[in-house]
Each structure stands twice: as C-alpha cells, then as structure tokens.
C-alpha cells in the first residue's frame, strides 16, 4: 500500500477526489459481484468477464481525463463505463439483454458502447481494440483536437500482430494515445511467462519511438499519479505512451471459468494477491490519514449497493428488444 502519508490538510476538492476514487471502485466491485450472481441465475448470458481486482486501473486512469478524451477497451469492459459515468441502470440492462441497455441489448457484456460518456467500445477479439483505438487517436490528430485516447487491453494482446503494427504507426505518426496493458499475469489460463518471450511488457513495447513504463496497478493512488503524468505528456507532447500496469484479477477469466483456481493458478496465489486488494487498501489509507470516517465509508458502500440493486431492478423490469430490432442497425442511412 502506498506509504504516501502526507499529513498536510487536504483541500475539500482533494478530499472529494479521493472519496470519488473509493466510490467508483466500490461501485464497480458491487456491480461485478451482482453480475456474477445474475449470471448464475441466467439473467446474464454469453461470456461474462469480471473486473474484480483490477478496479484501480480504470478508476485511476479515467479520473485524469477531459471531455475531449476517448476510452476504448477490450471485453472486460464493465469498469470503464462505470468509471466514465455511464448510467449503471443502462449498463446492467445491457447485460440483461434489454432494449434499455447501452446498446439496446444487442451488444452484451463484451460490446459496450456509450459515446455520450466517451466510451467508444469494448471489443471481443483479443487485440482488436488496439487498431480501433489507434484510429480514434488518428482522428484526434487529424482534427488537431487536444483530446487523447486511452486504449485498455490485456497481456494476451501483446502477442497480436496488430498491436505491433499499430504501435509502429502510432509512433510514426505521433498519435495521442495511451496504450495500457493490464498485465494480470494470465492470457486466459496461460501465464505471461509462457506467452511472452520477454516478460517485461513495457520493454517489449519500447522500440517504437515513444516512451513506455511499468506501474503498480493495484494501488489506485499510484495509478492516478502515473496517469496524471502520462496523460499530460501525451496531451502536450502529442505522442503515444505505453503503460504496463501490473494487476491481478481475483476471479476467473470468465464467469464460466470453473477450473479456476486449481488448474492454472493456485488458491494461495489468489489469496496472496488479495492482500493487495485496492479497495481495502484505499480504505485503510483514508482512515489512517484521517481523511474520512468509517461511517462515511460505510455510507458509500451502502449507496453503491443501492445503486446496483436499483440497476438490477431496472434491468429486470425493462423489456427485451422487439423482434423487428433483429433487422435494424445492419446499415444506417
């Protein structure tokens, strides 16, 4: 945990920022836990990849964005939209396949899209997001906007040819993009040592003419700090940045992943990483430093639970898309 122990009195805004980080991480955690239950109840179908354990990454990076910035992610994408401020009810409705969902129930867990909150999509082909996100950054350069693009993907995508093609072009053309590899140690069930010839992923990405670094992805304050610097760099220098964020998921690759733990990783390993759970650690920091009280944190927790319950109720009560929706949106006018 952060040893940052600035006792200096925080401004009201600073305090609120810290509580907001906590609020978002707790919301994501409760949301994801509910998703897991809903999946067991067959309210959520298909593939369901939960973000539990990795909340600090989405929350820390997204806290540093501005209105012209864009975020794109892979298929483990619930955390991004919640951190970006998408309505949790519409997010849950999408997972339930309802017409009130972010994508009218036609995308599902792996395919969120919420332009109003700058989320330009989750992509279900490993590495696919990298090409699209690079194109979004290309448009920011083309339009000479001050916006930047955050592109999240997993360590498995390090081995997609597309990543290297895009890193090369982003470097060539100086595109304003932050590539964030969420190195949670496993490409599905294959450990990074078995899928990457060089296990330092930041180093692997360091040859395309722009900076790269490794950060601790389990500490939201460290993530926020790094994000602030990196995003500032990209925004002002107009060049890409590559970040390897070391993180860990506490749950299986997907909700249907019944061999975990035991097959490719041990329960002990998970327990070891759980000690670095970003939520209790931030809680500890906030209390230790007298930034808030236990009652305040408890209230935040309960509020998050209420939001998730309300989202679930909304999703439950929403209608399925009408059948003629099948033929809509193949083309647009």
């Amino acid at each position: 945990m952060s040893t940052r122990t600035k006792k200096a009195a925080l401004s009201k805004e600073e305090r609120e920022e810290l509580l907001e980080l906590y609020r978002q991480m707790v919301l994501i955690r409760h949301f994801e836990q509910h998703c897991d239950r809903a999946y067991r109840q067959d309210k959520i179908g298909g593939y369901l990849h939960l973000y539990i354990g990795e909340e600090a990454l989405a929350v820390g990076f997204i806290s540093q964005l501005q209105p012209n910035d864009r975020v794109l992610g892979h298929y483990r994408d619930h955390g991004y939209v919640l951190a970006l401020g998408s309505d949790p009810r519409r997010v849950m409705a999408e997972l339930y396949g309802k017409v009130t969902g972010l994508c009218r129930g036609k995308g599902g867990s792996m395919h969120f899209y919420d332009k109003a909150h700058n989320f330009l999509g989750g992509y279900a082909i490993v590495g696919g997001v990298i090409g699209i996100a690079t194109g979004v950054a290309f448009s920011q350069k083309y339009r000479q906007s001050d916006g930047i693009t955050l592109c999240f993907f997993g360590d498995g995508a390090m081995n997609a040819g597309l990543l290297h093609e895009c890193l090369n072009m982003a470097g060539l053309w100086k595109l304003p993009i932050v590539y964030i590899v969420e190195n949670n140690k496993y490409a599905m069930g294959t450990p990074v040592e078995l899928h990457s010839a060089v296990t330092n992923l930041a180093e692997r990405a360091s040859v395309y003419g722009f900076p790269s670094c490794q950060i601790d992805g389990m500490d939201v304050l460290k993530v926020r700090e790094a994000a602030r610097e990196i995003i500032h760099h990209v925004r002002t220098r107009r060049e890409p940045y590559f970040v390897e964020a070391i993180t860990y998921r506490f749950v299986g690759h997907g909700a249907a992943d019944i061999t975990d733990p035991g097959s490719y990783r041990t329960r002990e390993e998970i327990e070891e990483w759980r000690k670095r759970d970003p939520i209790p650690n931030l809680q500890h920091y906030l209390l230790q430093n007298g930034i808030c009280t236990e009652q305040e944190l408890e209230a935040i927790d309960q509020q998050a639970q209420r939001i998730v319950e309300e989202a679930a109720r909304y999703a439950d009560e929403s209608a399925d898309p009408p059948l003629d929706e099948l033929w809509q949106h193949v083309f647009t006018d």
Binding site: K106, I125, F138
Partner: protein, 324 residues
C-alpha cells in the same frame, strides 16, 4: 461529355469529394509519393499534402483498423488496398469490426468507411494477387459492395460510397483501369442498389457486374449477328442489390446467365440463381446458368490463366446452351 479513363474517373471522384468535405482523406500503401500502383491517386499527395493523403507501412490490418477508428469519430477515410488480395490480412478488421460496430452498438456508431482497390485476374499475377473479392465481403451483413464496370459508373458510385455512412467495399477490376468511356460533366452521383441495363435484349438476360459487363457486351455483339438479342443487367452494387431489375429482365427473357470472374463454387452467381428461382421460378424457361472462374488457384502461365476465368467464347457457349 468527355471520354475518360476508368482510373481518371475514379481520381475525379476522389478530388471532388476531398474538395467538398475536409473529413475525407486517403490512406494506403504507396498512394502518396509513389502515386498509387494503378495511378488512381496520381498527383493527389502533391495537391492535398500529407494530412489528407497518408502513405502507410505494409500493415493492412493496422491501417484498415485505424481507418475504422477514424470513421467512428466521423472522418471519412478512403482506404486504398494495393490489391484486395491483401485485404485477407485484414478480414478481422473488415468483417469482425467494420461490419459489426453499428449493429453491436445498437445503431449508435456508424462507420463511414470506404475501402477501394483492384481485384480480379488477367494480369498474370498468379495465385496470390488475382483474387476476385466480392464474395468475401458480400457474404457479411453490414458491408456494402460496389463493382463498377464503366468510367461513368466508377465516378458516380465512388462519390456515393464516400458519402455513405456505412462501410463500403469498392472493388475495381484491374483490366478496367485503362478502359475509356464517356463521363458526364459536372457533379453527379449514382445511387446504390440500382442496377443498370447496359444492353436491352429479349432472348436471354446476362446478369453480371464489373469486367463481366464488358465480356457480355462483346458476346452480345457477336450473337446479335445471329439474331440473338442479349440483355445485359449490370448489378453495379451487390449489396444492396437491385433484384427487382433482375427479376423484371428474367420475366421478359425467361432465361438467365450469371457471369463473373470469381470462382464458380459458392460464387455470387449461385446467389443470382437462387434469387431468380425463388422469386421468378414460373418465368424461367431454362435453368439459370453460371459462367464463372475455374475453381483453381490462379496459375501464372498466361494460357492457363486465360482458361481459368471467363472469356467471350464461354459466354457465347452459355447463351447457346440456355437457348437450346
């Protein structure tokens, strides 16, 4: 009306649209400084500069993906693939991304993208550069597929493609670039989904597109001397496809031949035959025949190559057969 080369007509469309709309830009391999393998983009880098004409590394998945992302943000990229045979590398970007993003976003995210370039046999380019490509994209919902046969159509359709808010696969036949034809003066566009009767006839309908139209015209000239009147339906766009014009032609001639360079097996001719038998079965007086490419990788030897895709005699033989 002036006569122009097919590639000049394409270039005119690019220039007019780039002048009209600043979000239109060109991206592809060797299209700028090198001015394009088939010289379609000749002079455009000099005219518009590097922010409108982007030379890329040889990274088809990469630059096509980038074009998709840019299109999602409202730009209108016109990607040139040096040949569509290279687009196989980017099939995931085309089929699994460009074609699906609108749908999976519930209609929220249009992808106004054009990918254009040559596809087809006849230049002795052998197995890996000679593919016809229409089927690979026409099969996927969410992609529009355009195959012009004349300079006038090429210009009007490319302008429509650039203004369309969907991914448009614009496929040019390499044997057409140096064909010449009359191109209307001034501003015009040609809508998608409107087939063009390139020749009126009463005896048999040849349903085709791209180079097939030229082939059908040559066959029709010869058959006319025997009193056989061939009607040529140029589909121009396979997606959307103007089936009604096809059906009306068959209602008139009662006999149909589907003609394309692409492989015969599961080729678009099979779709044409299926649509006709489903919709105008009672108007048929003979089975729908297909004249199409041999189901082999394209051989290098020029005589083998000629034998591997339709020639005029093949079309004439099919007409005779269907008229038996």
């Amino acid at each position: 009306m002036a006569t122009k080369l097919f590639r000049e007509a394409l270039r005119e469309a690019l220039i007019e649209e780039m002048d009209r709309d600043e979000t239109v830009f060109l991206i592809g391999e060797d299209i700028g400084r090198y001015q394009g393998t088939f010289r379609v983009t000749e002079g455009l880098f000099q005219k518009y500069g590097p922010n409108r004409v982007w030379d890329t590394p040889i990274s088809e998945p990469g630059f096509i993906a980038i074009a998709i992302g840019a299109a999602m943000e409202g730009l209108r990229p016109v990607v040139e693939v040096m040949t569509w045979s290279f687009a196989f590398l980017a099939m995931d970007q085309i089929v699994n991304h460009a074609a699906k993003i609108l749908y999976k976003s519930g209609g929220a995210c249009p992808v106004p993208l054009v990918i254009r370039g040559p596809a087809g046999p006849g230049k002795q380019l052998a197995a890996q550069h000679s593919h016809s490509f229409e089927l690979w994209v026409a099969h996927s919902p969410g992609l529009k597929v355009v195959l012009p046969s004349t300079p006038a159509d090429a210009k009007g359709l490319l302008k429509t493609a650039i203004r369309d808010n969907n991914p448009v696969m614009f496929i040019e036949h390499p044997q057409l670039y140096l064909t010449r034809g009359e191109v209307p003066d001034g501003e015009y566009t040609i809508p998608f989904g409107v087939a063009d009767i390139k020749r009126v006839g009463r005896d048999v309908s040849i349903i085709t597109y791209s180079r097939g139209v030229l082939l059908a015209q040559q066959a029709a000239e010869r058959l006319q001397q025997e009193g056989i009147e061939v009607e040529i339906v140029d589909l121009r766009t396979l997606v959307p496809c103007d089936w009604e014009t096809v059906f009306n032609s068959v209602r008139k001639t009662h006999r149909a031949i589907a003609l394309h360079d692409d492989w015969r097996y599961c080729g678009f001719g099979a779709e044409i035959a299926a649509q006709i038998q489903e919709q105008v079965f009672d108007w048929l007086d003979a089975p729908v025949l297909r004249v199409a490419g041999a189901d082999v990788p394209m051989p290098y030897n020029k005589y083998l190559e000629r034998a591997a895709y339709p020639q005029v005699d093949d079309v004439i033989a099919a007409v005779r057969q269907v008229l038996t």
